[in-house]
């Protein structure tokens, strides 16, 4: 197991270097002049040059790349030309909001998707299966921004049940920083009113973000369950008179969970990337929103920083899934 984990760690480092190099090159060869943009519409050439020099943009691209990789090795993600702040500081500021959203969305996806997938398989082609089929197709097909606006109109404007956007009401001060996750920090602080309002704020964006993930988990789990439920050992279990609930929930689900776990790992990374749209619609101050506003301003270093961050979490999530695989299926440990 230790060798397995070490191999994964090496892959992580290599992949991160690859992501950094590729993203840096892609963002820097894209057209656009960030220095001119930041200098303002009326800035003279020498004003633009002042900014270029300050941020090292007057150097050639290979020189900039070497400097950037050197900084990266020292744990420095550079400075944002738009906000003039260190990228690492900003990524760390925005990451908890995104992670909180992704965790809640993933939680919804799993606790709803897995049981629904299981039930759809058990009652295959029944009314429940048909309903979940429509549900899962909608989940994949409906664009997130449209679904988000629809929920805002229904639950915020018409029914007035939930807030339109943001993480907290305007006059509510965030709880003392421990994890950056408001739901957790407010509970640690024993501040239940803040917990409640932050829960109200996260419901709609989390539903929007979880919908496609939920749909995928549901379909994969259903397909796998159908296959497992037809296998010999399940038939044998039934012949022994074991209760249907025990067969489905204990014997079948464990084996059906392997592909579902893979899907969860993939979806975690996908969700981190998808927060871009959801965070924009709900003004959720996470790394997705930070990446979009930076990209639109040709502010490249934050884009690279966010990509690295997402890449890191994606790899970590998939490594954890691989480890879980190995735990569930001992044959994989030897592979």
């Amino acid at each position: 197991m230790l060798t397995f984990a070490f191999r994964k760690l090496l892959t992580l480092v290599g992949t991160m270097i690859g992501i950094a190099a590729l993203t840096f090159l892609i963002t820097n060869v894209a057209p656009g002049d960030p220095a001119r943009l930041v200098a303002g519409p009326n800035a003279t050439e020498d004003m633009v040059a002042t900014i270029r020099t300050e941020y090292g943009l007057d150097k050639s691209l290979p020189e900039q790349f070497i400097v950037y990789m050197g900084e990266l090795v020292r744990g420095d993600l550079g400075t944002s030309i738009v906000t003039t702040r260190p990228v690492l500081e900003e990524v760390m500021r925005y990451a908890p909001a995104t992670l909180e959203l992704v965790f809640v969305a993933m939680f919804l996806g799993i606790v709803i998707g897995v049981p629904l997938g299981m039930l759809s398989a058990v009652y295959k082609d029944g009314p429940l299966d048909q309903v979940t089929r429509i549900f899962s197709i909608s989940g994949v097909a409906i664009p997130a921004f449209w679904f988000g606006i629809l929920l805002q109109l229904m639950f915020s404007v018409d029914l007035e049940w939930l807030p339109v956007s943001g993480r907290l009401p305007l006059v509510t001060r965030p709880p003392e920083f421990v994890t950056g996750l408001l739901l957790v920090d407010s509970l640690i602080a024993g501040n239940f009113s803040t917990f409640w309002v932050s829960l109200q704020h996260i419901i709609l964006p989390a539903i929007v973000l979880s919908f496609p993930c939920l749909a995928s988990i549901l379909r994969v789990n259903r397909a796998e369950m159908i296959e497992v439920l037809q296998s010999d050992y399940i038939v044998a279990a039934r012949a022994h008179g074991i209760s249907s609930f025990r067969i489905v929930a204990l014997y079948a689900l464990k084996n059906a969970m392997l592909p579902t776990l893979a899907m969860i790992g993939l979806r975690f990374g996908w969700m981190l990337g998808s927060t871009v749209l959801v965070e924009t619609v709900f003004d959720w101050p996470g790394i997705g929103l930070y990446a979009v506003s930076s990209a639109l301003s040709s502010d490249f270093k934050p884009v690279v920083g966010v990509t690295l961050m997402i890449g890191f979490f994606f790899i970590v999530a998939n490594t954890l899934v691989d480890l879980a695989y190995a735990w569930i299926d001992p044959r994989l440990r030897k592979a």
Partner: protein, 530 residues
């Protein structure tokens, strides 16, 4: 810790079950009074008044800082602020400002002549943001302290628009800035999200990409126009990026005023109870800029043909009527504006006449029309252009482009597209602010991507900006406007109205056309509570 969390979750669940829904809010009420919420689409990354000045940034800068003078009203006039009076030498090179004696910074330090000198020196030496407005005419050595409350500016050459830029040069407290200097950075790092001003508000919470809060200064040296009893406790600028979310926030009372609705949204929401629309004629011009140096649009007859083929009424319809046609390159609200006789309006016969004289008498060409990606109105104007040019057998390729790329392409004559949609907001009410866009020195800027070159116009612009005789200047600007229209470097489009939607209890809104798109002076606002 986990036991504690789980126990707390259970208690929170019980509490939650007792509250079914969040009631719709209104303005935020705090212990100190009412807090007005402004919903704006863009962030304020850097507050330093000498580094950045886009509309959202300037709105907050105006709240926490003061200038020597301030623009107010419609039409915009320059009013004394930190300077109670000023005089100019006969040659127009020396400007002397006399300061009010009761102004103080938020930390209690007096606003004196040294603070003025330091602030201008800082702006010029940093060579960023607002520096371009004065750097060609004012050197740091040209600013001197006459006495504690008198400061003198000696310009390198006469520059009449000098005063018109001063409202945007905000005064910082030298003591606070110097105390936070790092490696001689003039306090740039610190002023990014701190302030050292004397304005009616001081900075409250600063949560990047979420909200920015300004807290009212109870004993603001200039007093409060709405009266102490009515002044708000503060203002929160909340970032709400999507128009649909802005509309929803306004309807729910989560925002008291918003700036970024779509033209259709304004029409719809105007009918809602408790909502009022501020609709004012602005100074932001819209033009379809031609590349006058290269490609088919270098041909003046083709440019004229396009200008006469354009359906101008449809331009107004794109904004549901909330716009007016340009009658000159210089907007109506600006001093020196004239209605240029014969400015093109749709006339297909004339359009065909000019086309026949051009190098493309039968059309048969495709011209790109570039607009900012995501700007729906600009895209729809592209469709109007496409329809308008069909009778000339000219095809239009509508190309959305990200703003940074558009600016980069427009900075070189070789890459500037044949037609680009550009909105331009002048930064002052002096006609030079617009006229100089047609000066050769402006080439490379986004508003000069037509690479217009008429030596006669350039000479007149130079002469007008150095003259201190308004009658002479007025005559020159009239000639400049007429000549530019005759040369047709762009399709002169329309002036889009500035609009905000607000709750009707929000009072004191004062429009001034010289402010940037979306920018509101929050100083006079107040809440009329039932």
């Amino acid at each position: 810790m986990f036991g504690k969390i789980i126990r707390n979750i259970a208690i929170a669940g019980l509490l939650a079950s007792s509250v079914l829904a969040t009631p719709a809010g209104a303005f935020e009420r705090t212990d100190k009074g009412n807090v007005i919420v402004f919903g704006g689409r863009q962030a304020i990354p850097v507050l330093d008044p000498h580094i950045r000045y886009d509309w959202s940034t300037r709105m907050m800068q105006q709240a926490v800082y003061d200038g020597l003078v301030k623009y107010e009203g419609d039409p915009a006039v320059i009013k004394p602020w930190l300077a109670e009076k000023w005089e100019t030498s006969e040659d127009g090179k020396t400007w002397t400002f006399h300061l009010v004696k009761n102004a103080k910074f938020h930390n209690g330090d007096p606003v004196n002549a040294e603070a003025i000198r330091y602030s201008f020196e800082r702006g010029l030496k940093l060579n960023k943001g607002v520096a371009w407005m004065l750097k060609d005419f004012l050197a740091p050595e040209g600013i001197s302290v006459v006495d504690d409350y008198t400061v003198k500016f000696e310009l390198k050459a006469p520059y009449t628009p000098f005063l018109s830029f001063l409202p945007w040069w905000y005064i910082v407290n030298p003591a606070q800035v110097k105390a936070h200097e790092v490696d001689g950075d003039y306090g740039q790092k610190w002023l990014t999200d701190n302030e050292a001003g004397s304005g009616p508000f001081k900075l409250g919470r600063w949560e990047p990409n979420v909200l920015y809060e300004a807290e009212a200064v109870a004993d603001y040296w200039k007093g409060w126009p709405q009266g102490d009893a009515n002044r708000p406790a503060g203002v929160i600028y909340k970032i709400i990026r999507e128009p649909a979310a802005q509309k929803a926030a306004l309807q729910r009372g989560e925002a008291d005023i918003v700036e970024g609705l779509t033209p259709d949204d304004y029409v719809q929401i105007a009918r809602a109870k408790g909502i009022a629309i501020e609709d004012h004629k602005g100074m932001t011009t819209f033009g379809i800029k031609f590349n006058t140096q290269q490609g088919p649009t270098a041909d003046i007859n083709l440019r004229k043909a396009i200008a006469y083929a354009m359906d101008y009424d449809a331009l107004i319809q794109v904004y549901n009527g909330a716009a007016s046609l340009e009658t000159s390159p210089i907007p109506d609200a600006m001093k020196g504006h004239i209605d240029v006789p014969g400015i093109p309006r749709q006339d297909l016969a004339k359009a065909k006449e000019y086309l026949a004289k051009s190098g493309y008498p039968n059309g048969g060409i495709t011209l790109p029309y570039v607009h900012v990606a995501g700007l729906e109105e600009a895209r729809r104007i592209g469709l109007v252009l496409l329809d308008s040019l069909k009778p000339l057998n000219i095809n239009v390729e509508i190309k959305p482009e990200q703003w940074p790329n558009m600016v980069a392409n427009g900075s070189k004559v070789e890459t500037s597209p044949s037609m680009t949609s550009v909105y331009t907001t002048p930064v002052s009410t002096d006609p030079d602010a617009v006229a100089y866009q047609y000066h050769k020195n402006s080439w490379g800027q986004y508003f000069a991507m037509m690479f217009y070159d008429n030596p006669k116009v350039t000479e007149m612009i130079d002469k007008a900006r150095s003259s201190s005789n308004w009658d002479e200047r007025a005559k020159l600007y009239a000639d400049i406007q007429t000549q530019i229209v005759a040369d047709q470097p762009e399709v002169f489009g329309m002036l889009q109205n500035r609009r905000w939607a607000r709750r009707d209890y929000l009072q004191g809104f004062q429009f001034s056309p010289v402010r940037f798109t979306g920018e509101v002076d929050i100083y006079p606002l107040w809440v009329k509570a039932e």
